[in-house]
């Protein structure tokens, strides 16, 4: 290509690097040029990505790259959704060239993270991916954004530290920095270290995958990052954490001695714990999502909850569980990107994401409303969208495995999805239009076109899940994992029975259409405005009434004891304590009196004498 004798891997790196730099430099000249350059870069990168050879090794620093089905799947998600988000960015010419620079770098790092085949390359790309997110959250630097970005970076450093520590243990015990060498050597590792390494890896990746209790950065970071980028952050970048968990849990551990650990409900205890963490994350986060006042935070908690589903699927570890979790990773990536883009459009037009200040936008932004419903259907797992097969598989896996308590939690979480998503759609699009929003227009073309782009796979994979199942089966086969192999283009057969997604979808669509018909024929409605309030039959003095405010107050009241549990408080305590110690060290030790320092020196000599006295020479 281009007459240059370059390895496609190098070419891909060059495209990302040059694309980022060019976009940054030329982005200062024209408001739209930077987005077009980003799109060109991503298109080129996608082309090269689809034509990558299997392996590539860089001599020194010795890094190893390669592509397999798993990295292909996540890579396509990253590049595809990245391109769609970049397309939506056309409507945001006000974002600075710095942002575009970091965005391209971030996608590049994510792609090479997926392609990396040794620990050093993986960690390099992981860190690059992590701090570019920090730069984008920091963005134009409001006070809240600074705080959110700081919180994010500290959490990301904690995650990275876990990962680095685990990598070092693995490299030390297996004497290899390559994944293949580690997979080959891990069975000879002392089992304590092996479990520790895998647990650390999962904990480290859980930070990015927003699994409780490593999730506290998520609502802040999502709320403060640039609105279209939040879609990418939630849709794609959290999936890289899932990718990491997959590597740690299945590629490194599941096939080896860990299986010999005690089993609960047919799953080894490690997986059982993961399933519990996943279920609790799914349940807890959706409860918190219910009481959010800001739509962005609502979706952020919803993301945490959905990522909990994925971890739950991994924890079950059966053929259906793995397929369901991977499927849900794909489906969450798609519908959450869509939902965040819709929210970005709403914020662009109205300037707020506080649900109490919104309402009635259906009249002004009908397209956004329709796609919000589409996204909501997928989120709730309604047939004909991608959310149905993915959630269905996870439920089937849970039931088939006989996980009673966690299944209850998962179902409860699913109910909560209806509650908070109903609130989301209702308070933004339905009800009375807010006075300030009388002349709001539909979102601009790049944004609504990106809705359409994302909706295509949402429906297609929802009606024809076979194609996706094919890929998951290949991934499972590649890593010697149990796979669901019994499926056709529309039907998935599991030990619990089979379902045809197309037929279910069509039936559902028919009943939906019937309901709509009834609404149009027989519906008698009375339009009320927000000041139309009365009390005990008497017309009260007009008070603005909005359902968006404390929508589920009754639920909050009932669930009060649950809401009191907060890991955030523990972290705040740790932070406070660290600050206290820090002040003691700073003011007590570096006290400014030179003579005190002379005392330290004398005491230090005495300590040294005693220390050396004690140890054997």
């Amino acid at each position: 290509m281009f007459g240059i004798n370059m390895n496609p891997y190098e070419l891909l790196a060059a495209v990302f690097g040059l694309g980022a730099i060019l976009t940054y430099l030329l982005g200062h000249f024209d408001r739209h040029l930077k987005t077009w350059l980003t799109l060109i870069t991503l298109a080129l990168a996608t082309y090269i990505f689809l034509h990558l050879p299997n392996e590539y090794s860089l001599e020194s620093p010795s890094l190893l790259f390669g592509i397999d089905k798993l990295s292909w799947l996540f890579g396509i998600l990253t590049l595809g959704l990245g391109t769609i988000v970049a397309f939506a960015l056309l409507a945001y010419p006000e974002l600075s060239p710095n942002f575009y620079f970091m965005f391209i770098l971030n996608i590049g790092a994510s792609i090479f993270l997926l392609l990396s085949r040794d620990l050093v390359a993986f960690f390099l790309m992981w860190e690059l991916m992590s701090w570019t997110i920090f730069a984008m959250i920091l963005g134009d630097g409001g006070a809240e954004r600074g705080r959110a970005a700081t919180k994010y970076l500290v959490w990301s450093a904690i995650g990275a530290a876990f990962i680095l520590f685990a990598f070092a243990i693995l490299a030390k015990s297996t004497n290899s920095f390559e994944w293949s060498g580690i997979v080959a050597g891990i069975s000879q590792m002392p089992s304590g270290w092996r479990v520790a390494a895998i647990a650390l890896l999962i904990a480290g990746f859980a930070v990015k995958a927003a699994i409780m209790p490593m999730h506290t950065w998520v609502p802040d970071a999502y709320a403060e990052s640039p609105h279209p980028f939040t879609a990418f952050l939630s849709g794609v970048l959290s999936k890289l954490g899932i990718y990491g968990i997959f590597l740690a849990f299945f590629v490194l551990s599941a096939r080896f001695e860990l299986v010999n650990m005690p089993k609960i409900f047919g799953t080894h205890i490690f997986g059982y714990i993961l399933a519990w963490i996943g279920a609790l994350t799914a349940f807890g986060a959706s409860l918190i999502a219910i009481k959010q006042e800001h739509a962005k935070r609502l979706l952020a908690w919803s993301s945490i909850s959905q990522l909990g589903y994925i971890l739950f699927g991994f924890g079950i570890g059966s053929a259906i569980g793995i397929a369901g979790a991977l499927f849900h990773a794909v489906s969450h990536a798609l519908f959450k990107t869509l939902l965040f883009l819709i929210l970005a459009g709403v914020i662009k037009r109205t300037g707020t994401d506080r649900m109490a200040e919104l309402g009635g936008l259906i009249k002004k932004m009908p397209l956004s409303f329709i796609f919000a419903v589409v996204g909501g259907l997928a989120l709730a797992g309604i047939p004909m969208t991608i959310g149905f097969p993915s959630k269905w598989l996870i439920y089937e896996a849970a039931i088939h495995q006989g996980f009673i308590f966690t299944t209850v939690l998962i179902f409860a979480a699913s109910t909560a999805v209806f509650l908070y998503y109903y609130r989301f759609v209702f308070s933004i699009f339905l009800g009375e239009l807010h006075a300030n929003h009388q002349d709001v227009k539909e979102v601009p073309f790049p944004i609504w076109f990106s809705y359409i782009l994302i909706s295509i796979p949402i429906f297609w994979l929802g009606l024809f899940p076979g194609k996706a199942m094919q890929i998951f089966a290949e991934i499972a086969e590649q890593f010697d994992l149990p796979a669901v192999t019994n499926f056709t283009a529309t039907t998935i057969t599991t030990p619990l029975g089979s379902f045809n997604a197309l037929i279910v979808g069509l039936v559902f669509f028919a009943s939906f259409a019937f309901g709509l018909l009834l609404y149009f024929i027989g519906g008698r409605t009375r339009k009320v405005h927000q000041y139309d309030t009365f009390l005990a039959g008497e017309a009260d003095e007009p008070v603005k009434l909005h359902y968006g405010q404390r929508f589920f107050y009754f639920l909050e009241r009932e669930l009060k004891p649950l809401y009191r549990i907060s890991v955030e408080k523990i972290y705040q305590f740790v932070a406070e304590f660290t600050r206290f110690v820090a002040d003691q060290v700073r003011k007590g030790f570096f006290c400014g009196n030179a003579q005190a320092y002379l005392y330290y020196m004398t005491i230090f000599i005495v300590i040294l004498v005693f220390a050396i006295w004690r140890i054997k020479l």
Binding site: R586, C591, G592, N593, A594, Q595, L598, Y599, T602
Partner: protein, 124 residues
């Protein structure tokens, strides 16, 4: 006790004494000038120690000004190396002391005090 051993005791003993006096001063006194004095005490103690290491009882200075010294210096003269070292160390010590006194003057100029516990503008 033979004179050689006695000499060693005196040399080492007084160097240790000098060192400890210096240490006492720098840990207890608060006046900058006294602290500097304490530092020079410690230095003198170390220098005396260094010289006494090279000293051999009954030998002469390693200056080759006599014919018998020129022939077998290693039998008649003391080890010259410590003396060279001490000369260097003394010069360095003088430089440090001068530096310290200059800074102490400056501090007195700016702060109006020589009490080290009051010179704490930079802290934390």
């Amino acid at each position: 006790m033979n004179p050689e051993a006695l000499g060693k005791v005196i040399f080492y003993g007084s160097s240790i004494a000098l060192f400890l006096i210096g240490l006492y001063i720098i840990l207890v006194k608060r006046n900058l000038i006294k602290l500097i004095l304490g530092l020079t005490f410690i230095e003198s103690g170390v220098n005396l120690f260094l010289v006494s290491i090279g000293y051999v009882w009954g030998r002469t200075a390693p200056i080759l000004n006599k014919p018998e010294l020129m022939e077998t210096p290693s039998k008649l003269a003391v080890d010259p190396v410590p003396q060279a070292l001490v000369l260097t160390a003394i010069v360095i010590g003088v430089a440090v002391t001068a530096m310290a006194l200059a800074i102490a003057m400056l501090i007195y100029d700016k702060y109006g005090t020589l009490n080290i516990s009051k010179i704490k503008e930079l802290k934390w």
